[in-house]
Symmetry: C2
Subunit: 349 residues, 2 copies
Amino acid sequence: MNRKSELEGSIDPEAKVRPIRTITDLARVAGVSPGTVSRALAGKSLVNTKTRERIQALAREHGFQPNQMASKLRRQKTGVIGVVIPLGHDREQQVSDSFFMTLLGHLADELTEKGYDIMLRRVIPDRDEDWLDRFIGSGMIDGVIVIGQSNQFARIEEVADGYLPMVVWGNHQEGQRHCVVGADNRLGGRLAAERLIAAGATRLAFFGDTAPFEFAARYAGACDIANSMGATITAVSTHLSPAQTAQELSRFLAEHHGEIDGVFAASDTIAFTCLQELRKLGIAVPDQIKIVGFDDLPIAEQTLPALTTIRQDIQAGAHGLVDLLLRRLQGEETESLVLPPKLVVRGTA
Amino acid sequence: MNRKSELEGSIDPEAKVRPIRTITDLARVAGVSPGTVSRALAGKSLVNTKTRERIQALAREHGFQPNQMASKLRRQKTGVIGVVIPLGHDREQQVSDSFFMTLLGHLADELTEKGYDIMLRRVIPDRDEDWLDRFIGSGMIDGVIVIGQSNQFARIEEVADGYLPMVVWGNHQEGQRHCVVGADNRLGGRLAAERLIAAGATRLAFFGDTAPFEFAARYAGACDIANSMGATITAVSTHLSPAQTAQELSRFLAEHHGEIDGVFAASDTIAFTCLQELRKLGIAVPDQIKIVGFDDLPIAEQTLPALTTIRQDIQAGAHGLVDLLLRRLQGEETESLVLPPKLVVRGTA
DNA sequence: GTGATTTATGCAAACGTTTGCATAAATGTG
DNA sequence: CACATTTATGCAAACGTTTGCATAAATCAC
């Protein structure tokens, strides 16, 4: 390839390297004004059909596209939705957590379909107070989806007061001001506890960190039922990092497995770990201890025994998040969306 | 809230709504020129320490941050890395595929740490020829990471000729021109076949779509060994969507399970499905049929029997991708990075 | 105290679009 | 054919930064 040498003397338009970097360049080539090119590429009807097509063809031929930064700056719109994953209460690995990842996948589908681009950002709120304001105020995004409230409920509430186009995945609290989409975690907790008790358990344990609101609500729901049905329940706090969780569960189960006969795991991931630790200890599931998880991840049906769990419809969740956000972008003050969780009975309870 | 009415006559600075939207606004308040504010916020040493701190404090107080679009436009740098997932050979659900999702999580970690933002884009190349050019030419990103070659090898090669800051996750072919990071898939295939044969299998099957280069290489590696060790191997093509895969495997196994005694699954996900189908059919693993997967996803150790598989170090992969990309952003013409896969023996072979 | 150097700031020109307004050309009306 | 209307284009002013260059102020050397 001796493009460079050809470049100088050449008159062959095919041979010279594309000098068309701006709309003005293209305008020169097309013999029109930049404004016309802009309108033509935007497909506006104000420009003559003939010229429009000619310009579009020219653009295609030269592989030209208008600079997005300039466009966004001028139009004060970015066409980008921020997706932010706060790692508040536990910074390890959470972004790799199956549930969030699956949700993100569906979000990508939904947003792409609506013509939006996605700016993904992980933040560690404990290290950076202004994580949300900074993202919103950056001028890079038209709206934001927050995946998980983590321990940032207060901060999110605060921001919601002055910023409409934000939707959050998480738990719905009575009277909260930010728009949230999520399963009815408390109901889910009730379903789980009901199932455990129906399967014969009376001494329950809840495995999972109760700091995040989602998990706290699940626990609260389970307590509702346990209390009203005469069962006992104790919360065993774990951390989200898989390695830590395994260790914590292992220790707890080794010492206390005789004291419980039913486990409600705050997530399927925790349930899997629990299942594995019980197997190591030689404790039979569901005979000696019953387990109910939460999420219904795809693998839930592939464990042995297959996991009984509370299903969240992730796809519906993603759809809801995007739908509400788009409406908020139009200025509508949308209500939150609470999705019904569903008990899926398999082999562990 | 009667802000509007207060706004007019009010002199109380606390009461009026923030009028500080631009650097010029802040400059007026601070009694300096916009240029100085810009320099102060950028932390440049050209500006007096005293004024710099004063301006920074002022900015913090008003919650001001410079508009990124304008900044990016002016500086001709975006600080954004594009991450694109092409869904070439199978459009269903691939973005939710555990492996890619885990990789994405680690990428997010690495890029965030280096101060880059991430623009995530899913594309369906079959519907949109120019998926890659369009992304690169959009002016929104400084560089791009392509997750998976899919069936787009040729297109990627083509783009690589004229665009340096691109790194691809995938398979390395002899003499290819684009910079790739990925496991040595062929070697991985060899390890898998060796293990199956060492465990006693002689009639092997490969489960997975052989169109993507990664998978093709895994299959080729397995063939190397099968041929040299006197075992047979046949490829059984599946599609990536889990539902389809299950159906395809189910049909194949029902009819042909007697003809094979070892399965090399192109991915752990496929291996899980296979395991499940075999269980349904009452075929013992590993006694009647042995299985080796590929990836070593976290759940691999949680199935029963735990999955024997070929491990890819995803974190190292993500690190490599980012490292190479950053070097290419500096203008360096980096070589590809081939990571060694590792056999992890568990219960299925 | 004069001139040379350093330091801190201001000025104004980009960056590449989009779009309201003005105008020229084309069409229609009587 | 003169005038009113529609249609297609051009002009130029934003959008909000950053940064090279010029200059004013402060420091220094002698």
